[in-house]
Symmetry: C3
């Protein structure tokens, strides 16, 4: 397995770099160098505190404003960016926006231009449409940064970073790791960004475990092994990440998966985890459907690192914001 | 009338105490000692400012995060905790949550675990379900505190504290006081917590004034006098607290009360207040239905201490947060 | 054209003045002196920063609380007041309120009394009802200030101020200016406040350009020229302000305007702007319906000062808040 090729011109990967090759936006993990990724993970480590201690703070964003534009509903990711921004000294503006109030491409830009004109320097954007973060990034002034907080089924880069940060803490030797991501790979931006980050860190083996109807066809995922039986996916794995089944969309996916038997066939349980390595860790991006894609007692058990993922999420978002603030050519 | 018996093991009262017997959570007023309650009232006094002066501030919660989890709608209590937290230097996170997004017991815990992992140290919880604050308190890590901001019809401890704080300001001699609470006692957490606080402070006489269908059966309220005629309830009272009639639920309560005549029978008016002591004070937890359970001109008149209750509410919440922060064994 | 007559007793204009004749509330631009207005514009200039620089900050509102009470939905005006308050050091409380939760006049006062009792010193109010800001201002304690953030179709004073601030930056010689406001004048609080501000600054000529069914009948607007053909309105204009067509209300206005042909007849386009002076500027209060009342490429073009209006809006709100804080007799 080899790391990514050089950043192609005109790509999101190129678009997100500012002067000196530092991040100006965070749109994608594609094309991010191994060194750049490790630097972010290291920076995020420095934002961790022991449980119960007050969280780390800094004033690097003092006087700056972070705008949270979540065109899709979110509780945890929004809260995570909110706290990350405030703990770096920023003013955080949470906007009430939703897709229904937006009829066409221009009007999202008008919202962005309005915030830009109010001196909002960071636009944290979640949207159900593919390409929206890059579209925004192409239109903002040079002092503004765009952070992708979840883009359709395409990518969720801070989630990918917090996932590899969590894995690295427990299993630092990526070259010898077997990682299994289990569930609806096809529609999952979490899987895509985790896969991208794992590839950049040169993971030994990545298994994408799903019913055939939920397998992904992306060329970018060809380096990974497709597995359509859970037992084969879990066997000797070091890391198992269960993905959320979006029950609110169940009617849409009946044609592609035997949903009544999903838990029997693809639910990650304590019993089934015996196939994995004894010290394997269990991950989930949340929110969980306990008893569906993951057994509750497994989520709460010793192998689970699910709440560590949440903690690391705040630290990763602080690291990204601080990195951009520090290296911003326009400031 | 005697104060409460000692705190029974395994009760909410015991659960809410940390090391050294100080409050770690605030779940209930049951079992709180008279001394502990008076200490909180005294601390709250120190957070008051003259009208027009800036509110008192402190940095005791600097670097800490308060999460407002209101699973039931609220404007005033949420705003009160929000301002209390910020005026003590905390970051306050207001979460958009509602019962519809929560299907079972586990998922509220997952929300809590997520916030805990984001270093939210105080969980301010309002919920329509009995036992939820204690349930959460049993599951959080030892550096986390749970504050009950309204629990079903069971309790609303900061409301009870602000009520006795307000009474004490005007009528410090509790042993010689006659207090009348008027309205739907049965479904009122406000009545229960006020009654509990008054009992702890050894009030002379508490009258619970309601139509028979709205009387409460709780053993905890047996120390109080049940009165089913408003005139009998008001006669020579020092303090009269009118409860909100929840008109949005009127259809549910038609069987138990003659709602068309409610105002005639149980509406507290200026005329009727002539039965009470000349210097009696009038209270209401808000929001009021003027012209229903309370006459508007009475609410705005000289006897009314309704806005003082609001002011004292912020001070009480600051006192509780500061007390917990100061005595927190885990920090 | 002459400036306004002296402030009539009992008017909103009088009501909004505190001790020494300084602003205590901002309810209306009517009756504001030319000097007072220019002082506010000058103060707002001092709150501007170069793009990319952090916004200006001050601690003049440190320890004070600003409450945003938007009984009508708003994104940009709410965000603008929110950032203005925070950049002056205030705590800002955004309240979830809407008309549906409010049945009668008294209950809005109870919300205000509650906030007043929580030491909210500034009430920023948007409401669909005429007279609400003044009604509130008549009832608050003397340390509380009320800021009109949009009142029915009556007025929107901070919008009027930001509009003349933007015009002044490009065209300081008001006596020789021709300003055209285009669109639904009749229902527009933006048009009324802009007209008022322009009148106070003694603008050379104000044209109100609309279909006859959207013309305003107000006596206050008699100083302006009514024009019912766009070409006549634009000819040799220095400033062109297009108003938003509220498409969500289109069914209500079909009787008064030929909506299918609105864009043909009253849409401001690049082609049509050739009738105006070559250096004319184009304004819009936002949010825009691109392709309806304004051509998108015009909104994004060199003549457009639309994002400057947004930037100036934050500065104007900071100037108003700071002015009131500085001159507040009750503090």
């Amino acid at each position: 397995m080899t790391p990514n090729a050089a950043t192609p011109a005109g790509s999101d990967a190129e678009l997100q770099l500012g002067e000196g090759g530092n991040l100006r936006h965070l749109l994608t993990l594609k094309g991010m160098t191994r060194k750049a990724m490790i630097d972010l993970l290291d920076a995020a480590e420095s934002f961790l505190s022991p449980p119960g201690d007050p969280p780390q703070r800094s004033n690097i964003l003092a006087g700056r404003t972070v705008g949270n534009l979540f065109f899709e509903a979110s509780t945890r990711t929004r809260a995570s960016f909110d706290l990350a921004g405030r703990r770096l000294g920023a003013d955080v503006l949470n906007l009430d926006v939703n897709t229904s109030s937006r009829k066409k491409g221009e009007s999202i830009l008008d919202t962005i231009y309005t915030l830009e004109a109010m001196a909002v320097d960071f636009m944290v954007v979640r949207d159900a449409g593919a390409g929206i973060p890059a579209y925004i990034a192409r239109h903002v002034k040079k002092h503004v940064s765009v952070l992708n907080a979840g883009e359709a089924d395409v990518s969720h880069p801070t989630q990918g970073l917090l996932d590899v940060m969590t894995i690295r803490h427990h299993k630092p030797d990526f070259a010898n790791l077997v990682v299994a991501i289990v569930g609806d790979i096809r529609h999952s931006r979490v899987a895509r960004s985790a896969a991208q980050a794992l590839r950049t860190l040169e993971v030994g083996e990545l298994r994408l475990v799903s019913p055939p109807g939920m397998a992904a066809e992306d060329a970018d995922l060809e380096f990974a092994r497709r597995v359509d039986k859970l037992d084969d996916g879990l066997r000797d794995a070091d890391v198992v990440m269960a993905l959320r089944i979006q029950r609110e969309r169940i009617q849409d996916i009946e044609g592609i998966v035997d949903i009544d038997n999903y838990t029997r066939d693809f639910g990650v349980t304590r019993e089934r985890m015996k196939l994995a390595k004894p010290d394997a860790i269990v991950m989930h991006p949340g929110p969980m459907n306990r008893g569906i894609e993951i057994e509750g007692s497994l989520a709460d058990g010793e192998q689970s690192v699910i709440t560590e993922q949440v903690t690391n999420g705040v630290a990763i978002r602080m690291a990204v914001l601080a990195h951009i603030a520090r290296s911003h050519g326009a400031w």
